[in-house]
């Protein structure tokens, strides 16, 4: 217990760790701040959900229409008073909006904006069925095959993949998973913002810290030339075990500090109240003509938890990888270089294997490939995001790293240390 504490102290005593945490948090807050302009508009969604619930059905749709009509009427009263003009759609107002901004007070403008947003919801709801009817996955399979230049066996895999995704899509439509309100993805892109921009940034930040700390703590005795004393003591070479535990603990600590602070601010800025139970595959969450289709029915809250879980697991993998490399190399500077090279290689390899070989699929089962697209975890997007991608990666790498660590321990136990 005591040893762990001392090892953890080594991890955090260097001022550079706290400086980096501060800088990284500043980056994250800056990113959120830059995106915060839309927070008022997002609140309309919360109001709608509070008023009508988030499930879209005929009854709800009718209520929404009434609400929209009354809103539009109110808006038209306002514009008639101000400009002597009424509008059929609130959206039309904004095509001429520029010239009128000075005439309206903040509050009046807000009324019009709100009407326009309710209008978008109303109009988009009418389009849902049509959009999903037009989704042609076999067409998408063809496009993927052409775009990535797949052929033979890999093309077969692609077609199979889209068959599977198509089944899931049918199931999803059957369960009316897509008919739920959420922030309008086409406009606000909240899914990309949270899970791609912010989450990926955090993954890289924490990864940098984890690698720095793990390399430092593991090679500490060799770097400070205390190895002859420590590894000759009673605890002896088992000290490496303590270092491993300390490294994993430190990784979790760093992750929770960065994640905790950033997400706290994020959810204070953007109000998600009432939206936690909405499925991630909702039509309104989609940002491109092709919607996000999660492989399992997942609510936003559950999805966030799963992503956070994957986040922590990936960081633990990075810590374990660095740990194994450190025992072999024993010089923290070269460890950092080696880790970057490993990272580069694992990202590079899937890109250079021949397109006809199934290797282009299984070389992607690495944490390094995984962290490049956190917004597509558990989601069927294209052939490189299969259903079992995440958990299989986790299982494979847990085994691989367990073996690697055991081998390095065995090697280290018998090694000539001087």
């Amino acid at each position: 217990m005591n040893v762990w504490r001392f090892e953890l102290k080594k991890a955090f005593q260097s001022p550079v760790v706290s400086i980096l945490i501060m800088i990284f948090l500043f980056f994250n807050f800056w990113l959120i701040y830059n995106h915060a302009g839309i927070r008022e508009e997002l609140k309309v969604t919360n109001q709608l959900v509070e008023r009508f619930g988030y499930k879209i059905n005929a009854e709800m749709s009718a209520k929404l229409q009434n609400y929209y009509q009354s809103k539009l009427q109110k808006m038209n009263e306002l514009t008639r008073k101000k400009f002597g003009k009424t509008y059929e759609r609130a959206g039309d107002f904004f095509s001429e909006y520029e010239y009128r901004s000075e005439v309206l007070s903040e509050e009046e403008l807000h009324v019009i904006t709100e009407t326009a947003i309710v209008e978008s919801y109303y109009e988009l709801i009418q389009k849902i069925d049509e959009t999903y009817r037009h989704l042609d996955l076999s067409q998408k399979a063809k496009m993927d095959i052409k775009m990535y230049g797949l052929s033979g066996k890999t093309a077969e895999v692609t077609r199979e993949y889209y068959n599977k995704l198509n089944n899931r899509l049918d199931e999803l439509i059957e369960a009316r998973e897509h008919k739920n309100l959420f922030f309008i993805g086409y406009v606000y892109r909240m899914h990309s913002f949270l899970f791609k921009d912010l989450m990926r940034q955090m993954i890289f930040e924490v990864m940098i810290l984890v690698v720095l700390i793990t390399g430092h703590v593991t090679t500490y005795e060799f770097q400070n030339q205390t190895h002859l004393t420590t590894y000759a003591s009673k605890r002896g070479r088992k000290l490496m075990l303590d270092k491993l535990v300390a490294n994993l603990l430190a990784s979790l600590c760093i992750s929770s500090v960065i994640l905790g602070a950033t997400l706290l601010v994020y959810f204070l800025v953007f109000d998600y109240s009432g939206l936690w139970g909405i499925p991630i595959s909702s039509f309104f969450n989609s940002e491109f003509p092709f919607p996000y289709i999660s492989w399992w029915k997942m609510s936003f809250g559950l999805y966030l938890c799963c992503v956070l879980g994957m986040f922590l697991l990936c960081q633990l993998f990075f810590a374990a990888i660095t740990f194994s490399v450190s025992i072999w190399i024993k010089n923290s500077y070269l460890v950092y270089a080696a880790f970057s090279i490993l990272f580069g290689l694992f990202v590079l390899i899937p890109g250079i294997v021949p397109k006809t070989s199934p290797a282009i699929f299984w070389t992607k089962y690495t944490p390094f490939s995984l962290i490049l697209n956190p917004h597509l975890w558990f989601i069927g997007w294209n052939v490189f995001f299969p259903k079992n991608h995440e958990w299989l990666t986790v299982v494979i790498w847990t085994c691989l790293l367990a073996i690697a660590t055991t081998v390095t321990f065995l090697k280290f136990n018998k090694e000539q240390i001087n």
């Binding site: 001022p15 550079v16 980096l20 800088i23 010089n331 500077y333 090279i341 890109g351």
Partner: protein
């Protein structure tokens, strides 16, 4: 002299050179190779590159109104050829796509029309149609050249009189330069600059720290050379930086020759076709030289910063950790403003010189501060 040689040997240890080689290779594969392999990227881009080349061959490096009329005539002639192409095919006539005009404005959303269009553009890749599209863009750029006035604004700031003068000169000049070539070079040099920064950080970081970790520093400071070793090592670092930068740039330009941009080297980059205006009448070659010079200044300043960090940091985690924000600053901000698109009129004319003066000042300040500190530093604490 001998010490510098030994220091250089230490910097260029076989191990480090091999690692640098691997890092550069991976970086090339991941970020740089794309701009060689896919240049020009995609279809109208390829055609517009060829057409720009033809324009220079026909009209010289400038195009006047008369030559523009000729250019438009060629477009009309090709359009007639496209009409004939369409009319020769029954399915297109049946679908109401019997002229190029109709073909361009047809509703892609309709499935059968979309398929017919895809047949020509993507399946058969008919050169004529792609070329027409590229010519259309070029004509548009020339005709709507006043668009430069709004394009060259920095944020919401209104244009100053000098900026307007430069834009007017550019519009009047009719310079021909390929947008594809220019953008391709900018993307390339940006990534090459990043690679050079990484290389230098990687190679120079251990320079002082290594000696302190090995306790060689006690021997060095008590020898005849004594505390002068700081200057000698820094000099070695400078030589190493110059060498690394030169080799990286040299390799890059050898590869860049494969992009075949020779004819554009004498083009003026102030052009309505590049959508960019610069403070000076630079040819593409002069612009390339300017970016090279700026990379050298940047790397030498960076060397001082890294060397001083290496001299002060207690361990590798600090020296690497402190360079993380520095690297982010360089990659996200500095390289974009001080290497890529330099002397662009979006920024004031005095921005670039003052930025470089500031950089050099930071470097010299750090240097003198370290020298002063070196003179009385207590080695045992």
């Amino acid at each position: 002299m001998r010490i510098i040689l030994y220091e250089l040997k230490k910097i260029f240890q076989l191990k480090m050179v091999c690692l640098l080689f691997i890092i550069s290779f991976i970086f090339y594969q991941l970020f740089i190779n794309f701009y060689f392999e896919y240049f020009p990227n995609g279809r109208p881009a390829l055609d517009s590159y060829h057409i720009s080349m033809k324009m220079i061959e026909q009209y010289g490096y400038q195009m006047n109104q008369e030559e523009f009329e000729h250019f438009k005539k060629v477009y009309e002639k090709e359009k007639v050829a496209a009409d004939a192409y369409l009319q020769a095919r029954q399915e297109y006539v049946d679908a109401g796509l019997d002229t190029y005009e109709k073909f361009r404005t047809a509703d892609r959303e309709k499935q059968e029309i979309g398929e017919l269009m895809d047949q020509i553009m993507f399946e058969d890749e008919v050169d004529l149609f792609w070329e027409l599209q590229a010519r259309e863009h070029l004509i548009e750029y020339y005709e709507y050249r006043n668009f430069l006035y709004s394009n060259m604004k920095f944020g919401d700031l209104p244009l100053t009189a000098e900026q307007k003068d430069r834009i007017r000169d550019t519009i009047a000049s009719g310079n021909i330069m390929s947008y594809e070539v220019f953008e391709n070079y900018n993307s390339l040099i940006r990534h090459v600059a990043i690679l050079i920064v990484i290389s230098i950080m990687f190679m120079i970081s251990p320079i002082f720290l290594q000696d302190r970790r090995n306790h060689v520093v006690f021997l060095q400071y008590s020898s005849k050379t004594g505390r002068k070793i700081f200057n000698l090592k820094l000099l070695a670092a400078f030589i190493a930086t110059g060498f690394i930068t030169t080799v990286q740039l040299g390799l890059f330009f050898i590869l860049y020759r494969g992009n075949k941009v020779g004819i554009f080297l004498n083009s003026n980059i102030n052009s309505v076709f590049t959508h960019e205006v610069f403070w000076f009448e630079l040819t593409f070659l002069q612009y390339i030289l300017l970016t090279i010079v700026s990379i050298y200044i940047l790397t030498f300043t960076l060397t001082i910063i890294v060397a001083v960090l290496s001299n002060r940091a207690p361990n590798y985690i600090s020296v690497v950790g402190l360079q993380v924000p520095l690297a982010i600053l360089l990659f996200v901000v500095v390289i974009d403003y001080l290497v890529v698109r330099i002397t662009n009129i979006r920024l004031p004319i005095y921005f670039l010189p003052s930025a470089y003066v500031l950089l050099i000042l930071i470097g010299s300040f750090l240097y003198f501060w370290s020298v002063k500190r070196e003179k009385k530093v207590d080695l045992l604490h």
